[in-house]
Symmetry: C3
Subunit: 363 residues, 3 copies
């Protein structure tokens, strides 16, 4: 326990944990204050995500190389997954899909762009042409393409048979999960040397002892689930009150909140001129959403959702994900960055946000 | 003749030649057995394609560098061309277009992905950054773009004037053929050193003597034409019976069958760690379809078809060809491959096949 | 004055200046001869554009590094800007948008392709993998993406609220201008060494003295404005008479005419095996249209236009700009060119022109 308190004291972000009890109390005494609950739940999720990240890494570090890598890779997007699961159980599929699309775009544009900018403010030109970065860019591109093919083809052909599309989504989800398992074998087994450095990068301070880490993981997961519940229950009414569509909230807010801990790692690496690591975190996280989180949600929709969920995104989301994947691939293949490249990538992200805000997709 | 028999005995694939007389006999005695004829004709075309390939290379080898290169480049996709011509004469334009699109996608995704996978199973990481490969990736990208511009623009603008679209297709076909002729001058004339290695790769065993090769070429061409006729006549009814749309048969079945001989060469090169050569065969064959086979079919439709055929593909095919061309270009520009990259590329191909199977394009 | 006459005598192009008085006289005596005025105004704009370019560079050279760079960067597309402004004031928004799209496509495909071809006719293989070229390719790609996001998303989602789209265009225009200003700080301030060579390339002969240059700049600007007025007034009727749509005239004719001076610089550099410089001029000019000219026209439409102009392009233009940006990025990242690559890039440009000619976008 003192170790945990030390970790909290050393990380200013964790002071936000105070909002966890607050949001749960307000939920009980003023359940109709949707906008307040919406804001409080966001403030509470950020530090919980950071703690999840700390606990995951501590467990990973203690359990040795292969198993640790597996834990890191599987639980790396746990916060996004928990929020999406809550939305899935509530049948808010527009929110779920927006958060999948948003996580891919935010990780590959916002995290990459801000890393380029922060790194470029310290160093004139940064090179990052290591094997891992180039390989991961190819993987991300193919993973996003795989995720988008049915949507793109269905949209292009105006196919209108929802049953066939659902069947395709299910088969595709199984295929993507197989791809993900093979990818784990690749990154933790046959080619682990290319991914070695990525493991160290996320550490926020000293790792926790294994028992404490496991307990933290369990307890924090429960709290994230509770707060996610408040968040999802309030988001629709609050969004309407503030003027935000579910697409905007899922795409921008959820992915910025859920990814906060990873951003911290990537930005810190960029400032230390370890841009390879930032690129690896950004691209790896995006690939994981496409190959693991998205298909898992499709499969789970058969169990916990009110109806099966498909992998059909709205056309604007397809365009944005495609642009993000192609941009990330082209820019990281270039292997050279400066602050202005970061500014432009962030600008594209800002334009996406602006577009979603002004032109929310129809129902 | 003994030489030819030796070649057949050494290549297990050629034992399938026994299906050639079978299919022709069955066609006469049971012309209504469409599904049987469909399967038999596929089994018969595979070894005929391999023999065409062997004969073409033997002729090419004997006639010296420049003329040989020309023969190889022009007759390299002869099987696909013969099948498409038969379908063209029968007015099955959906099948023709699907086989053009499928050949480009199959050569650039399936052949490339399987080469990456097979090569990567032998060698940890393979590099293939030779001049030829990078140049050919650029050529393929531009060739596919050139082929797709009218479809993409017409689809985007919902242009509905078929006469204007047909006029554009004709002008474009002439332009692409001019580009192809200039490309031959480039690859066989001014820059032949960059393409030198590709010539040796396709050899299956010892070359045939020139007379035998020419006779084989003539006779096998006739047999391919005969079997193609059976194939095209049976495909529609058989496809319906098995549950395959013409688009699926043209896109997947025809291109896998027609390209069998090239796949054998590319995979054998990949296993020998000559990935440059595999990449060159895959990209070169795709470019040839886009720059030569497709426009030639448009021009010939004015002579042997019931009506002029345009270069307008259905929207899903445009998306798939674009994704294939961009993927092939990005992945080969990276210049480095592992088994998992091959798995992912094959996964995209599988997803295309699945999508076409579940969501066939409307009429 | 003798210096100016010498410059005119040394540059054959400038003999076309004789058409400037001719077109202005014909405009007065035969204002209804639209086709004649259209052709005369094109012939008159070409040498004026060359003089503007000469004067701009002379001023830039005399005012020193930073200010000179700023002038060059801001006035580099002055001719295109003046023509577009005239069309804007006349409310011909289809022409304005076509000239923006056309300038991006013409600069990144025609200028690049012709440079590859001209360079490749002198030298077997040309490498141009300098820092500047690779960086600028990334910048161009991101700039075009930024410009196109609203159109792409709006088209994909069939969003039909023109007021929201206009609001988005305005916010985006402001954002792009901020990006442009930051880009000037980048290319003239923090990273000017990467752009250093570009400054020298455009020189046509000896620079003019500063006073003469400034006077030339002022006088020629007025003449370009006058001739543009004739051009814009005649284009619609003349286009109909010759059979050209406003989209074709704006896309192809205006950008070829307005960019003549830059083409001369880029081609001359390519022939001297300074392909880095050609690529830099082509990509830099395209980026400038996307980041500066296009948003400036949106902002000015609020002041001088009959109604606010948005950044929504017709779908075919979006496809063409996207293809041009991806092609330019992929081809310049490759960093190696030959004559045939130039031929293929020019072929894509020719196909765009053909498509626009045969299938003009609907109103």
């Amino acid at each position: 326990m003192p170790r945990l308190l030390t970790a909290i004291r050393e990380t200013p972000l964790l002071w936000l944990l105070v909002f966890v009890p607050i949001v749960l109390v307000v939920e009980v005494v003023r359940p109709e204050a949707h906008t307040l609950l919406f804001i409080l739940s966001i403030l509470a999720i950020v530090p919980l995500a950071a703690m999840l990240s700390l606990a995951t890494e501590s467990v990973a570090e203690k359990t040795g190389d292969a198993a640790g890598g597996l834990i890191n890779a599987t639980l790396g997007n746990l916060t996004e997954l928990l929020i999406a699961l809550t939305a899935l159980a509530a049948g808010q599929y527009a929110l779920v899909k927006a958060s999948i699309a948003g996580a891919i775009v935010t990780n590959s544009l916002f995290m990459l762009g801000a890393s380029f900018l922060l790194g470029g403010m310290r160093k004139h030109v940064q090179d990052f042409n290591r094997i891992g970065a180039r390989l991961q860019a190819s993987l991300l591109f193919i993973a996003v393409v795989a995720l988008l093919v049915p949507s793109a083809v269905a949209t292009a052909d105006n196919a209108a048979d929802p049953a066939a599309l659902q069947q395709l989504s299910l088969m595709l989800a199984l295929l993507l999960i197989v791809g993900y398992v093979l990818g784990l074998w690749f990154s933790l087994g046959t080619h682990k040397e290319a991914f070695a450095s990525a493991g160290n990068g996320g550490s926020h301070g000293e790792p926790l002892p294994i028992r404490l880490a496991l307990a933290t993981l369990a307890v924090v997961t429960i709290f994230v689930a509770l707060v996610s519940h408040v968040f999802v229950a309030s988001v629709e009414v609050a969004g309407e009150a503030i003027g935000l569509s579910p697409a905007f909230v899922g795409f921008i807010v959820v992915s910025l909140v859920g990814g906060a801990a990873e951003f911290a790692s990537a930005f810190s690496a960029a400032r230390k001129d370890r841009l390879d690591l930032s690129v690896s975190i950004a691209l790896g996280s995006s690939s994981q959403i496409a190959l693991f989180v998205a298909p898992l949600l499709v499969l789970l929709s058969y169990i916990i959702g009110p109806a099966p969920m498909g992998l059909d995104f709205w056309p604007g989301a397809i365009v944005m994900m495609m642009i993000a994947a192609v941009s990330a691939t082209l820019l990281t293949t270039g292997g050279r960055s400066t602050w202005f490249l970061g500014v432009l990538v962030l600008m594209v992200y800002a334009i996406f946000a602006l577009t979603l805000y002004v032109l929310p997709p129809g129902p």
